[in-house]
């Protein structure tokens, strides 16, 4: 009998070329999308919280900057604030931290992925998109190790292929390597299994 999968959270890591990639990814996600999405986008420390506003007008989902202690809810996309790490607690709430840079970055994708994998285990989808960094590779491997579902943007379709390439080398047999344009439809499929 085929094992029934369902997912409670999607974590996304993205660096250079991120704004465009996220716009394309979120544009086709429906308003009733049933799984919360948490995004780490590398950004300059003083860049403020503009990303959520920019994305909000491009999707039916509600995009907001994540706040500490916030409980993750379906229908929302949570953006990690600049200059903070975002950690997910096992009770599915957000913690923020100004701990030292990890992989030269704060926020770090690895920090998000590693804590999310502890909180959600096999009910987590991890996605690595475009970027010129190796951040996220180790974290995606941990998501895979803990039974989660791993998707990497096809490096050929990435603005910067370095980060997808690093994730592919680090992650033993990722579940899917997809062109950016195909990821949102795939997410709708994967997460529909939850509601049925």
């Amino acid at each position: 009998m085929k094992k029934k999968r369902f997912f409670d959270c999607i974590t996304i890591g993205v660096s250079s070329g991120g704004l465009n990639a996220l716009m394309i990814l979120f544009k086709d996600l429906p308003v009733d999308f049933s799984v919360p999405i948490v995004v780490v986008q590398h950004a300059k420390a003083d860049s403020g919280d503009i990303l959520a506003g920019l994305l909000n007008s491009k999707t039916e989902l509600r995009v907001k900057t994540a706040e500490e202690k916030e409980e993750l809810k379906a229908g929302f996309v949570y953006i990690c604030p600049a200059n903070y790490h975002l950690l997910i607690e096992e009770n599915k709430t957000v913690s923020l931290s100004v701990e030292p840079l990890v992989n030269f970055a704060r926020p770090s994708i690895d920090v998000l992925f590693e804590t999310a994998s502890l909180a959600y285990g096999s009910h987590l989808i991890g996605i690595v998109l475009t970027g010129a960094s190796s951040d996220g590779a180790k974290g995606l491997a941990q998501i895979k190790n803990y039974g989660g579902y791993t998707i990497i943007q096809d490096p050929k379709t990435a603005y910067s292929s370095y980060m997808p390439d690093a994730a592919i080398s680090a992650c033993d047999n990722p579940d899917e390597i997809l062109p950016l344009e195909d990821i949102s439809a795939r997410l709708v499929d994967l997460c529909r299994e939850r509601s049925s």
């Binding site: 094992k3 202690k69 604030p81 804590t115 285990g121």
Partner: protein
């Protein structure tokens, strides 16, 4: 598949973390039970990797019998990332809005709670000097970690950060030149000792200690984010009980007094920064 190996491992690890926290509390009196778990766990695991211990529970033996091991762990468990004039616009708002209010008082008491290595304490001292009210201020800078307090007392900065700090100082509305406030020798930058005159560095643990004086300004930025809600509420209560009427409370830009049980006791003093005034 109701209980996989992964889930067993995560459960065991959580038991080990709880035991470690309890061992620290029983042996040394530091209470980390109210700290946000994900970050605490990351830091414990980092120490595990660096220490060569085989497991978190193995570290319990180390910390009980080796004081040096515990001291290092304690350093890892406190987060000591700070800057001179971190978030310059916050300090600009202090200069522009809070200082004129403090200037009206005959004497001023300021508490930097969780001061770490002291960069914000000295930043504030510079602002008080430039505003000409330093001499009537008594400044308390507290942390639970003796090692960082000692460092704070030295008032020494690393030269690699100097460019950033100078920019921060300027953006914060500095009225002179940042070079007025330090002497540089080799790769170290020593802050002027005149800044230290009215600062008292002291051991105080927000998780376990109480009110120790009546304050006109409490600064505690990016400390509360590491605490769970009950501990946050405890600390907010402590600050509120420590403040005079019309006293100021400042917290980090991503911290909130909503849900804290004390929000009604404050007016929002600034539109742009997390500065509150006790009613």
């Amino acid at each position: 598949m109701n209980h996989t190996k992964r889930e067993t491992n995560v459960d065991n690890e959580n038991i080990e973390v709880n035991l470690l926290i309890e061992a620290i509390r029983l042996k040394y009196g530091y209470d980390f039970s109210g700290y946000s778990r994900a970050s605490l766990k990351r830091r414990i695991k980092k120490r595990l990797l660096d220490s060569g211990s085989l497991s978190i529970s193995g570290m319990i033996n180390n910390l009980l019998y080796e004081k040096d091991f515990f001291d290092q762990l304690l350093l890892d468990l406190s987060i000591n990332v700070t800057e001179m004039f971190r978030d310059p616009l916050f300090f600009k708002e202090i200069r522009d809005k809070v200082i004129p209010e403090l200037a009206k008082l005959s004497s001023v008491k300021i508490w930097h709670a969780g001061c770490s290595t002291g960069e914000e304490v000295y930043s504030m001292a510079i602002i008080l000097k430039e505003a000409g009210i330093y001499d009537k201020c008594q400044i308390f800078a507290t942390d639970f970690n003796q090692v960082v307090l000692e460092k704070a007392k030295q008032g020494v900065l690393s030269i690699v950060n100097l460019k950033q700090y100078t920019q921060n100082y300027q953006k914060s509305g500095g009225t002179g030149s940042f070079t007025d406030w330090y002497t540089a020798k080799y790769d170290l930058v020593k802050l002027k000792t005149t800044l230290r005159k009215n600062i008292m560095f002291a051991d105080h643990n927000l998780a376990t200690d109480g009110v120790f004086s009546e304050m006109d300004l409490v600064m505690c930025r990016n400390v509360l984010i590491y605490f769970d809600r009950p501990l946050q509420n405890r600390v907010f209560r402590l600050f509120t009980d420590s403040l005079t009427q019309d006293g100021f409370l400042t917290i980090g830009s991503k911290e909130s007094i909503h849900f804290s049980g004390i929000a009604d006791e404050y007016d929002q003093f600034s539109q742009t920064q997390k500065i509150f005034r006790k009613i």
